[in-house]
Amino acid sequence: MSDYKQQVSRRQFLNYTLTGVGGFMAAGMLASPLRMAIDPVLQPSRSGDLANVGLAEEDITTEPQRVEWKVEQVDGWYESEVTKSAWVFKNDKGEIVALSPVCKHLGCMVSWEGSEKYPNEFFCPCHDGRYYKDGTNVPGTPPPEPLDVFEQKVENGMLFLGKAHPRKGA
């Protein structure tokens, strides 16, 4: 088991060094901070409809972090693996909140504190849509309703997320 793991990472490492010869891209990667918390150690595993997103409960803080995971999806003619993502944090009551990053206006990806002008909010770069930390849309900005909320559970200390559902508007 651990042998297999090592092999994989060695190959990945090789892959990386080979491609890294292109220097420019590698430099770009090192230079700019990786803002998204991605690529968890664990491969996503399933439990019912909810997927392990590779984030341990204890690593969830009050600061929203972006997680990504993969699910199989059948979309008409195509069956494919799609990447899903969520903003995850603990609210004042210590409850885990997992919000969909898809803006309820026209579907751009929102980011936490995406604009310096609006600290402590989610910001949509497309038409300056804004949401408070709990996902509620800021009145007077384009989004008509709050960010969707993911079904969630914690099992063996790991966070599992399912489908995102709409909430009542502000």
Binding site: N15, Y16, M29, L34, D39, C103, C126
Partner: protein, 153 residues
């Protein structure tokens, strides 16, 4: 948004918000055996870039069907045809045209082209699925999105 029915339905209802087109410039060629794979893998990678960018900025950007051309075709003629594509989009209230390419030879015509050319360095790799390559692509996508947002300012 993409050039498909479901998205275009949304587009016609919300035109005033979608002011940017994204157009991948994709060459193909069969005359040089040694370059066939490279040119094809550019196609793979540019599609990944285009769809990732579209995902981030779906509410303001329309991803068009790719502009295809033969690698060796004279850019002095191609750019005219390219401009006519951009002109066609200007019949709608699109204000920004973002062109994505790995082909540095477009650079020479940057001034004549009526859109913003974003040239990307090619990533050479066996597969674009490894964790590291995905990290690189993600990072590049982030930077390109930032660039597009700068055009919006």
């Amino acid at each position: 948004m993409k050039w498909k029915k479901a998205d275009v339905e949304k587009y016609v209802q919300a035109k005033e918000y979608i002011d940017t087109i994204l157009l991948p410039l994709i060459p193909f060629q069969f005359s040089q055996d040694k370059d066939i794979e490279l040119v094809a893998s550019q196609n793979d990678l540019l599609h990944i870039f285009a769809s990732e960018i579209e995902k981030e900025l779906a509410g303001r950007v329309m991803l068009l069907p790719s502009y295809h051309y033969i690698s060796s075709a004279a850019k002095s003629e191609e750019y005219l045809r390219l401009n006519s594509w951009i002109q066609e989009t200007e019949k709608q209230p699109f204000e920004h045209a973002i062109l994505l390419t790995f082909d540095a030879s477009w650079k020479k015509y940057e001034k004549e082209i009526t859109g913003n050319l974003i040239w990307l360095p090619m990533i050479q790799s066996e597969s674009f699925d490894s964790k590291q390559i995905k990290g690189l692509i993600k990072n590049q996508v982030e930077q390109i999105c930032e660039m597009i947002r700068a055009y919006w300012q």
